[in-house]
Symmetry: C2
Subunit: 316 residues, 2 copies
């Protein structure tokens, strides 16, 4: 068995396992292309993310964590479209072929991918500096896609979950800051194990006007919605949902981390005020906190009660 077959076998045993019983997959890994028949009445949505060691995750991280988080961050884009996960591809560049490391990566990917029905359906493995490029694909009914460009003046602006923990965790996961075991456990998971908001995304797609996932910080990401929709927004800082853990650990910078920190992978959406009770019902049913943080305005962008910088993660 050559290195190439070895890698294939590692992935076959885990994330590639569940293609059986899938009518949409006509041809799996092993030919020049994979082949898929999108279910009747559905469209295909997809998103590609590249993660570079030392830039998007720390050097020498646990491969299980890398694998889980890589799938999670990419699947978060499917959640923002209200789509059902279907399959993903992996362009994996690794400095050396280490079976144990690869098995860890595959395990971490499978941990998230399997329960959400996402299967590995192709990719490429090359030698070079550690880089992962994932493309995730999902299905969604043609006319039910929540876009960034559909926010209306007067809409309420909401976010799911809690913001800021993942950004606060960065110096912990890189080892720059040492904290108590209890704090380590909480923040380590908040960075490495984001939960893509798939179910709430699917449930909300019928009631929201605009939706996206927050990867680069609320203050920066919501501006993508505002720009695409040609509207403005007024947010209120004291409505931004922040965990007790973060408030306690970093009372001074908690708000700034929540607004500009990134890596949370929660959803941000706008909806007309008439949908408020429906949204409350959905989020209560799913036990996911969902917080109104402001309103869509005709123009401008402000965050009342916050005078810090509002740019988030810079890609360059």
């Amino acid at each position: 068995m050559n290195e190439f077959e070895l890698i294939q076998n590692i992935f076959k045993a885990s994330v590639m396992a569940n293609t059986q019983g899938r009518k949409d997959i006509l041809l799996g890994i092993g030919d020049d292309c994979a082949q898929v028949q999108v279910p009747q009445g559905q469209s295909l949505v997809f998103s590609m993310d590249t993660l570079v060691e030392g830039r998007h995750f720390p050097f020498d991280a646990d491969p299980v964590d890398i694998g889980y988080r890589a799938v999670a961050t990419c699947v978060s884009d499917l959640a923002a479209m209200g789509a059902k996960p279907a399959f993903f591809t992996l362009g994996l560049t690794i400095p050396k072929s280490d079976p144990q490391w690869l098995a860890g990566l595959a395990q971490g990917m499978a941990e998230l991918a399997e329960p959400i029905g996402l299967t590995l359906l192709g990719g490429d493995t090359t030698k070079g500096p550690l880089t992962l490029t994932l493309q995730v694909h999902g299905y969604v009914e043609v006319r039910q896609t929540p876009l960034r460009s559909n926010a209306k003046v007067g809409d309420d602006v909401y976010v799911t979950g809690l913001l800021g923990d993942a950004a606060a965790a960065v110096p912990i996961v890189t080892g720059e800051v040492l904290v108590s075991n209890e704090r380590l456990d909480y923040f380590y998971d908040r960075y490495w194990r984001p939960t893509p908001r798939l179910i709430v995304g699917m449930a909300l797609k019928r009631v929201v006007n605009a939706m996206m996932d927050i990867s680069d910080g609320l203050a920066q990401d919501i501006q993508h919605i505002l720009k695409a929709s040609n509207v403005g927004a007024r947010l209120e800082a004291d409505r931004v949902p922040i965990s007790a853990e973060l408030r306690q650990w970093q009372p001074e910078s908690a708000l700034s981390l929540a607004l500009t920190g990134g890596d949370d992978y929660e959803l941000c959406f706008t909806a007309s005020k008439e949908q408020a009770s429906e949204i409350q019902l959905i989020t209560q049913t799913l036990s996911l906190p969902c917080t109104k943080v402001g309103e869509v305005a005709s123009e401008g962008f402000s965050i009342e009660g916050y005078d810090g910088d509002i740019s988030g993660w810079q890609h360059f």
Copy 2:
């Protein structure tokens, strides 16, 4: 304009230009996902390739060449499935944001992508060592996909075009070997401008039994067909199509390069003998040489008239 928008604009002006009039593209670049509706009766095929600088192409290469070849090598997988190119995504990791370099890359990609109806429909740009991951997507009728696993004992084995030139060109394009201008022109193009065999692939899909593209050398790649089909093959070395240019320049190693060199991106296929005249007609109509190089046998693999090593490009 930040670096990120700059990059988007460079690509928008070239490879991303032709999504207008495309009924299959419901949502282009700019949201969390792109959205596609696969045409009625068609299935989606896709393939991902990663190209690392210094490994899959030389350091400091012309970005126009890198762009063209990246699309060509990936699209070659669509040709092998007899599929019509539809769209692609690009995970681009670059050490720095150089507008001129990026414009060159986009130009090279557009040079091939535009005429074949392939449009850029998403991706990610990150900072790091130069690496390109492309995923190309095409459409093909559900029951007309030529697989690797369908070769039959007694089939003829064919290859399109000429083999070995691209591998011979490697020391020229890396600058290790200096040659005359005339030779440089010929071999430079043979390495940097492979022609994906799309039209012949689409025309042949009804008459072939098994088909794949040759990226790692005929001797190695055909074994993928043999393994997947559970058959053997006997090839004849003196039938392998080699250019006059390569025979003249490297008479001693021409055959070895043609069999094990890789990077040619021609098609290899098997077809029953009854299809011989139909195949001849197709390849004559398309003015593409198509050569019988051997036959499918019940077991074993041999190349009569060649006693060298028959392993091709190693991925690790």
